[in-house]
Symmetry: C3
Subunit: 167 residues, 3 copies
Amino acid sequence: MPIILITGGARSGKSTRAEQRALSFPGKPVYIATAEALDEEMRARIARHRARRGNDWIEREVPIELAAALDESDGAGARLVDCLTLWLSNLMHAQRDWRIEGDKLSAALSRQRSPVVLVTNEVGLGIVPDNALAREFRDAAGLLNQVIARVADEVEFVVAGLPIRVK
Amino acid sequence: MPIILITGGARSGKSTRAEQRALSFPGKPVYIATAEALDEEMRARIARHRARRGNDWIEREVPIELAAALDESDGAGARLVDCLTLWLSNLMHAQRDWRIEGDKLSAALSRQRSPVVLVTNEVGLGIVPDNALAREFRDAAGLLNQVIARVADEVEFVVAGLPIRVK
Amino acid sequence: MPIILITGGARSGKSTRAEQRALSFPGKPVYIATAEALDEEMRARIARHRARRGNDWIEREVPIELAAALDESDGAGARLVDCLTLWLSNLMHAQRDWRIEGDKLSAALSRQRSPVVLVTNEVGLGIVPDNALAREFRDAAGLLNQVIARVADEVEFVVAGLPIRVK
């Protein structure tokens, strides 16, 4: 079953597109949120996304252990992971090695039987950040996207709500 | 008659592309600038754009009331709106609700009889800004692009002067 | 022989893609690095790129005089220029006029007999930088990309390691 990676900028319509793709598969879809409701801005964003999705989803919060969550939920409906960029940020805060975790995720994706749709962000098309940590993060985000795109069956780049098929 | 949205990064050749599209329609085109010449950098940019376009255009400065300007100028040549991102910024400075104004623009576009080409910017593909206002602006810019892309007949994403057809 | 421009964000896989393209042509390829190993971060990045490429390349460091380097190395294998954005930065630091140098590069590309693959960056799809120098740089980078794209036979925009053909 397909692995689908949906990438794009902030508010490009990635999540909506990913939800459409996930809902196109049979079975009740599983929404795997990597976001944790740690501050007001994030709580508001999570609430907005949830209101849009409605109640047709099984919901899980998985800030770190994505590979395990995919294995556990495999075999029924599609899984939507939203999003890898936040997951990367969670890994870094938890002092986990994102290269190792990225490879573990990649291996887990390769063994899934039911579909997975993953949302990620493009963060490397602006001016080079002054801040060394921000540079490190955008480098890691770009490399992680490449790692996951490699095992994906389809990759879409979303602009103004519209998908450009990349793979 | 078509509604055409041209998006892309800074200095990607969006405006030149939009001018070509507008000039391809019969009738004298109308250039609707959302920019106001408030500082030296902006005055220089406006002068450069004007020098490139030459005198084949009817020119209007419309910082806020885009829907009305489209209705008033409808029925003859194409209208080129350059650009939506600056319009959004003008709306925010004027304490106008950009969601309501975006819907009004969307409705106005749906009733135009002569063509409209709109230029906008992608501002959400860099690292998340530290500044909360900048985050809010880029979110609004992304959402506005989606709203206008929805009513557009064609959407192009311009990279290095070259259009990628998205819709 | 073709002039190929490869553009994209940070860590999008541009360099790897450009290497594949350069290696697809007969003859020993020439790697023309515009980077100078001025600090630790840059030295590490250069070393990583070199380790990936292996020893199948003739290597040259050309921070400024790209047109001359292309003319001198013409007639055998493909040349890979990595990258134009750093070259632009070098030009600015050396107080050279990047518009004149861009035109010289464009003219040099037009007279090459063996292939040239050039890597560049998209830096204009984030929020407008506060810093006036950063704004100037991203404007120049966007315009330079347009100038080189105009003489290129092929242009690719790389996302998550995957090329989108633009020209």
